[in-house]
């Protein structure tokens, strides 16, 4: 499959997964008041509903990486390594700040932080090969 076709297929799957994510968020927020955790164990699967499309997004990213050419894989490795390292460093550092009374950092922000850093890493490492 051509590189451009791989990207088009990935983007199509990504857009569908994002639409599914928005629907899942709306559905979960609609259903959760009827199934509070103290009354129903259904609160747990309902609140995790948006994770299903996120799994599809991750699956798409893995497929994209597997089908990318060798330079793209190298750039992605550098960007993902940068994102993973920086996310670990930032959250670990903030853990020490929490010990001295800084506000608690919700774990839900770890993935968005990693995605933003991945984007920064991609832009930086991609420029090195242009």
């Amino acid at each position: 499959m051509k590189q451009s076709e791989i990207m088009v297929r990935y983007l199509r799957e990504f857009v569908l997964a994002v639409i599914a994510y928005v629907i899942a968020i709306v559905a979960a927020n609609f259903l959760l008041p009827y199934y509070p955790l103290y009354r129903s164990p259904w609160a747990i699967p309902i609140s995790l509903l948006p994770i299903i499309p996120v799994i599809f997004i991750l699956r798409g990213i893995v497929k994209l990486l597997l089908n990318s050419d060798e330079l793209q894989q190298r750039i992605q490795l550098l960007a993902i390594g940068f994102a993973a390292g920086m996310t670990g460093l930032l959250t670990f550092s903030y853990g020490f700040l929490e010990n001295i009374g800084m506000p608690r950092f919700s774990a839900i922000w770890v993935l968005p932080l990693m995605v933003v850093l991945w984007g920064i890493g991609l832009a930086y490492f991609s420029r090195r090969y242009q």
Binding site: E70, Q72, R128, Y129
Partner: protein
């Protein structure tokens, strides 16, 4: 590593995008190889050599300090 990929491509009047399509890589990869910013793997170098009907060493020229090794 230096290479004469740009010359070979120009001889055939191919754009970077056209060459990228023939090699099944991205245009950025072709550009990075041409400008010496990226050295291709051995399989990709063979693919390039086959496409231009040359030997690998006719297309890719090692840096002078490597020649002494």
């Amino acid at each position: 590593m230096n290479n004469c990929l740009k010359v070979l491509r120009a001889e055939r009047d191919w754009s970077q995008a056209a060459l990228a399509e023939r090699l099944n890589v991205s245009r950025q990869t072709v550009n990075a190889i041409e400008t010496g910013k990226y050295d291709p793997s051995l399989p990709l170098a063979f693919k390039i050599a086959r496409l231009f009907e040359r030997q690998i060493e006719d297309i890719f020229i090692p840096d002078s300090n490597l020649e002494k090794v």
